[in-house]
């Protein structure tokens, strides 16, 4: 066809690559600093969790579950964690837990304020919406490449990729929670003379809490779903065990590690809920 001659491919991929390269060179020291900060934080968190003797850990979590969720959840927590201990997956589970907690803490610390701003500012809302769509739909493997380039191999790029992947739920559900506060409550806040801050922390946030907690819950679930994928670039824990089982076609090992992830997911899901 005649137009094929003029039909040159737009160099999108090249541009992105050059951009990422330039970013890597320009911000190399910043990335290093961030990397070492994350590395030591995860190390400290994991060290702390691993320092607690498993039985005490299980007992504390069991009591916590009993107090906030009742005896059924508590029973599940205790039995399933004892199973993990029995299977010899304790230290791997603790490492995965540390990664997931770190990613969740970072995602919520970044995500909730963005969600709040988004709910109050139309411009921010319009800008962030396509970005969040992009973050949620892009295949998760694609995150790994820039994470790898900026932060090298290991747990840190895994956590970074997980943070990016798990960021949209807290942003979106915080936004939703604030937007869903009934108009009459907002009016009541105004009618009694609240300023912006008082409105936020006395009216909007308290009434958005169920939705925000749901966002944190979803954030944890997304982080857990990234555990195996992040293991591809060297994040440790149960994910790496699954990858190893995959490479050696070891069904039993894959099942045990996979079960560990599922148990962790169920426990965290039951514990982190609004009601």
């Amino acid at each position: 066809m005649w137009f094929v001659k003029f039909w040159t491919k737009i160099p999108l991929g090249d541009t992105v690559e050059r951009g990422v390269d330039a970013l890597e060179i320009a911000l190399r020291s910043e990335f290093r600093a961030l990397s070492s900060f994350l590395h030591s934080s995860i190390g400290a968190l994991e060290g702390f969790l691993a320092f607690i003797p498993p039985l005490i850990f299980i007992a504390v979590l069991g009591v916590l579950a009993w107090r906030v969720r009742g005896w059924k959840v508590a029973l599940f927590v205790v039995v399933s964690l004892l199973l993990i201990l029995n299977l010899g997956l304790w230290s791997l589970t603790i490492r995965t837990l540390a990664i997931v907690l770190m990613a969740t803490i970072a995602s919520t610390l970044i995500g909730i304020p963005i969600g709040i701003l988004k709910a109050h500012n139309k411009v921010i809302h319009t800008i962030t919406r396509p970005i969040l769509d992009f973050m949620q739909t892009i295949p998760t493997f694609v995150y790994l490449i820039p994470a790898l380039m900026f932060f090298g191999l290991g747990t840190v790029p895994g956590v970074i990729a997980t943070i990016v992947f798990a960021l949209p739920p807290p942003v979106r559900l915080t936004y939703l929670g604030i937007r869903q506060v009934p108009v009459e409550l907002i009016e009541a806040g105004k009618a009694f003379g609240s300023n912006w801050w008082q409105m936020l922390y006395k009216v909007e946030i308290p009434n958005a809490i169920p939705s925000v907690v749901m966002g944190v819950n979803q954030c944890i679930m997304m982080s857990l779903s990234m555990v195996v994928i992040a293991a591809m670039i060297g994040a440790g824990g149960l994910g790496r065990e699954v990858m190893r089982a995959l490479a050696t076609i070891n069904i039993g090992m894959g099942f045990e590690a996979g079960l560990g992830i599922v148990i962790l997911a169920i426990i965290l899901d039951r514990l982190v809920r609004a009601e």
Partner: protein
């Protein structure tokens, strides 16, 4: 004047100036909506509300009454016009000054209560005090005091979801009263309640208002409620005020068809007074300046002293006792005096107890006239129907 509104307009739409011009040309709300798609919510409203008054704005939904109320604390900013509280021009305040006014001077009660579901009852009531930055002990003390006032002190640790509708609105009222703001805006506060609870809340509001004497701006779509509560009533239609007056004026002399239609179905038995019903007093024939023949059939005669106080009554020279309402029982065989400010409902009660005509007296116990069964029936039939009813009676 506590609140003064000077030709306030509120237009919802993109080009309010254009709508204002159309309004000046005399176009109606629906014509303007057809033409521009913009809504005239409040159309040239001017009102003066005095200190301690309970002022009721009554209108159907969509008449702009809630918007008008929100203009006063500027939850809605009026498009044009000025609003004053005493000498202060509310419409010219900046955001900071406005917050100050809302915190200390003007407070509000909402139709659906607007309680904070995650706060306990007590801390719902302290909300306004928290914004006022009052010390914690004061907040608690004041909130408990307010809860006691509305009779819900023992519920202070509950959550709003545990309370019934009527209780929720008492909390809403307690929260508003706690700020000690002199102006109380009430946006259909009892509309969401069951009829019986609504009646009780109205009575309680009247009682509270007797004690507290706030300036209340009360919005409702229920004329009976307006008649029961209002010192004065403004009737609103299509964003404008069609009539302002006392409940009695509105009932007796509705100025437009719209008002008359409302009044027709209203319960006037708590509004109309004996003074307006005694036109047949002239039928009680003079015998002399001190003797009236009240009833021809029974030859009931009433004797007055020099100052026209009733002193004796006879039937065929048999003396009758004279009693005063409300100190009467059923099946009275005595003559009953009713003060001229007795409302229709109580007159009917008195008439049920006694076969004789009721004798209406002024505050100084002077004879004014009588009320027969016929007068009561006539009042009930004619109320609101003919505009000249009022002029006949007044």
């Amino acid at each position: 004047m506590e609140i003064r509104l000077k030709s306030v307009y509120k237009i919802f739409g993109k080009e309010p100036q254009k709508v204002l011009e159309l309004l000046k040309k005399g176009k109606t709300k629906s014509e303007i909506y057809e033409e521009t798609g913009q809504v005239v919510a409040v159309n040239d409203v001017s009102l003066d509300i005095s200190i301690g008054e309970t002022f009721v704005v009554m209108g159907l939904s969509g008449s702009g009454k809630s918007t008008l109320l929100r203009c006063i604390n500027r939850l809605v900013d009026p498009t044009l016009g000025k609003i004053y509280s005493k000498e202060l021009e509310i419409t010219s305040l900046n955001q900071r000054e406005l917050r100050e006014i809302r915190t200390h001077n003007i407070t509000m009660v909402f139709q659906h209560f607007a309680l904070f579901p995650r706060r306990r009852v007590l801390s719902n009531v302290t909300f306004g005090l928290e914004i006022q930055k009052k010390p914690k002990e004061y907040q608690r003390k004041k909130a408990l005091e307010m809860l006691e006032l509305v009779g819900l002190k023992e519920w202070s640790d509950s959550y709003p979801s545990e309370l019934s509708g009527g209780m929720k609105q008492r909390i809403g009222l307690a929260r508003a009263l706690a700020t000690e703001a002199k102006i109380l805006l009430m946006d259909e506060p009892f509309s969401a309640l069951d009829p019986l609870i609504r009646l009780r809340m109205q009575e309680e509001l009247l009682k509270l208002q007797n004690k507290l004497k706030r300036t209340v701006f009360f919005v409702t779509h229920d004329l009976d409620e307006a008649l029961r509560l209002g010192g004065r009533i403004a009737i609103m239609e299509e964003g404008g005020i069609v009539q302002v007056g006392s409940p009695e004026e509105i009932i007796i002399n509705p100025r437009t068809e719209y008002v008359a239609n409302f009044v027709k179905n209203a319960d006037s038995s708590g509004v109309l007074t004996a003074a307006k019903m005694i036109d047949s007093a002239t039928k009680a024939s003079f015998v002399s300046s001190k003797r009236y023949l009240l009833d021809h059939k029974t030859n009931l005669t009433l004797e007055l002293d020099e100052d026209s106080h009733p002193i004796r009554a006879y039937i065929e020279n048999q003396p009758l006792l004279i009693k005063s309402y409300p100190n009467i029982g059923e099946g009275e065989t005595n003559l009953i005096l009713v003060p001229e400010n007795t409302v229709l409902r109580d007159i009917m009660k008195a008439k049920v107890c006694c076969d004789f005509p009721l004798v209406v007296v002024s505050r100084e116990k002077k004879f004014k006239g009588i009320i027969t069964e016929k007068d009561i029936l006539k009042t009930l039939l004619m109320k609101g129907k003919e505009k000249d009813l009022g002029s006949q009676n007044v």
